[in-house]
């Protein structure tokens, strides 16, 4: 589908939280961006009511770079509030619908970006990943999703979820877009010190010759039969491409979920302290209230359910008396998981698993999941994210008519391995378009 009448498209899929139907005929390409990246011209809410009415005076660096390269920003994509979710069902502004089945989720938290990448031709979307928020929706919507190394793409203008975890990346139907757009958005940015120590991006130095499959990830609970069949078939395809495959032990992976959620919510709870009825979004408070009561009134009224849950969890895990058991321990465990990956990268170019353990669930199934059920669903996407390693989801099969993703993780800064993998995979596997009709 060409970008045209976005209003009717958006009514059907709810992928945008804000968009323009105006077209720039001089634009070299059209892109969209997750709504936790600040942008001039568009209200920026990050899926949260507390930011309603916020019109940033500046573009986030990745948006500025794409615009400078001739790109036209067509809209801001819908997402879980501040990135807090696996299904994009935690947005205050509508829930994106999966183009393969409108009763199912696009995945999260970059669900709107994955939906836009699946529905529009010649379209690339900027997503953001903290614990799997690019590859999860890429998997559920049947598109390519690349989360670069932590620090590869500037976070200037990104509305923080977890500072030590957030990564800006790309979603597209076309594998060739990754090589085209990653060099544009990557690079050092003095506005983001964590981007300043990165080595130069070299696409072409390393290729995918061997992969490791962690036994512990595959033996974990909950990988569905349909996903396993697609995964097994994908491994045969990889072997056919001349890639060596070996099963390995990675014993620390099972600690990824608790370590990740402790670090992520600890960081989130401090980042969200800034939303208090001053400076951004809603500021229509009662100035007769006392300091603490004024702040509390906004936060209680405008934060959503999952945001409150994560603020509570993160505040608790770094409180005096609990920080050593949770936050400090989680940082140490992250180090052990990084070492586990590094050991594999001495012998292999990438680690592979399915991206998500099941196909996209229906919304009625999601509503029955507990918070912990939802967190545990991330057990395949959280390991590369907590380690800051670049990772890629490619569409690798279809189960019950829904897309399944294959997840590649490479060593820090080796995005070239993933781009090589995506391009070779794209020549070996026929990716299906969702049947889009209005």
């Amino acid at each position: 589908m060409k970008v045209g009448d976005l209003k009717s498209v958006n009514e059907k899929y709810q992928m945008f939280s804000a968009f323009t139907s105006e077209a720039d005929v001089d634009a070299k390409f059209i892109f969209s961006a997750k709504d936790n990246l600040t942008s001039k011209d568009f209200e920026t809410k990050a899926g949260s009511r507390i930011l309603e009415g916020y019109y940033p005076p500046f573009d986030a660096t990745p948006i500025a770079k794409l615009r400078a390269a001739g790109g036209f920003l067509s809209g801001k994509t819908n997402m879980d509030e501040f990135g807090f979710g696996t299904f994009s069902a935690n947005s205050a502004f509508g829930i994106p619908r999966n183009p393969f089945d409108l009763e199912r989720s696009c995945g999260g938290s970059s669900g709107g970006s994955a939906c836009a990448a699946a529905v529009f031709e010649d379209h690339v979307s900027l997503g953001v990943s903290t614990g799997g928020s690019i590859v999860c929706p890429a998997s559920f919507c049947g598109v390519y999703g690349l989360a670069p190394s932590y620090g590869r793409v500037s976070r200037y203008g990104l509305i923080d979820y977890g500072n030590s975890l957030d990564k800006v990346g790309l979603l597209s139907f076309d594998a060739s877009d990754l090589r085209k757009y990653l060099p544009i958005i990557a690079g050092k940015d003095p506005h983001d010190p964590t981007s300043m120590t990165q080595p130069e991006l070299e696409l072409g130095k390393n290729k995918l010759k061997s992969v490791a499959i962690p036994k512990q990830a595959m033996e974990g609970e909950g990988i569905s039969k349909g996903v396993m069949e697609c995964f097994d078939s994908s491994i045969e395809t990889l072997k056919g491409l001349g890639v060596d495959v070996e099963y390995v032990d990675m014993p620390t992976l099972k600690y990824s979920i608790p370590a990740y959620y402790v670090i992520a919510t600890s960081e989130a709870s401090t980042n969200l302290a800034r939303y208090c009825g001053m400076r951004y979004g809603h500021q229509d408070g009662d100035y007769t209230l006392k300091f603490d009561d004024y702040f509390t009134s906004f936060r209680s009224q405008y934060f959503g359910d999952e945001a409150k849950r994560r603020i509570l969890l993160g505040t608790f895990t770094r409180m005096v008396g609990y920080a050593d058991r949770y936050y400090n321990k989680a940082l140490q465990v992250r180090g052990a998981i990084i070492n586990d990956y590094k050991k594999q990268f001495e012998r292999f170019d990438a680690v592979v698993t399915p991206t998500m353990p099941f196909i996209s669930p229906r919304f009625d199934e999601i509503s029955k999941m507990s918070a912990l059920d939802s967190y545990k669903a991330d057990f395949l996407t959280v390991p590369p994210n907590i380690t800051g390693m670049p990772h890629l989801s490619v569409p690798c099969g279809y189960s019950e008519g829904m897309p399944v993703g294959l997840l590649f993780t490479s060593d820090h800064w080796n995005e070239d391995v993933l781009i090589d993998a995506a391009e070779r995979w794209d020549r070996a596997f026929t990716v299906k378009h969702a049947e889009v009709g209005l």
């Binding site: 120590t197 600690y255 007769t288 969890l313 180090g335 990084i338």
Partner: protein, 90 residues
């Protein structure tokens, strides 16, 4: 997690929870923290930094600069006499 602890945490986090929310988050956080107990037995590495990759300080020259004019930053903020407006301190 005990309701009393949830109430204490909520107060620190500037959240005013309803009785229903207190019950719900108390149950949810109890279940989540029980699952997190596996961290007690997890192997760890000493002296890990706060970031997953090595980060070095990157400081600019100590010279005044203003990339975004202050009036642009203030345009959507509630202000009083050019200052950001907030609640009283006492």
């Amino acid at each position: 997690m005990d309701r009393e602890i949830v109430e204490r945490v909520a107060r620190i986090a500037h959240l005013d929870l309803t009785e229903e929310e207190l019950d719900k988050y108390s149950a949810d956080l109890g279940e989540i923290l029980e699952y997190f107990e596996m961290l007690d037995e997890a192997p760890g590495v000493e002296n890990r930094g706060f970031n997953p990759v090595e980060i070095a300080d990157a400081l600019r020259e100590d010279e005044p600069s203003m990339e975004i004019p202050s009036e642009d930053c203030l345009k959507d903020m509630k202000t009083y006499d050019g200052y950001v407006r907030g609640p009283r301190l006492s």
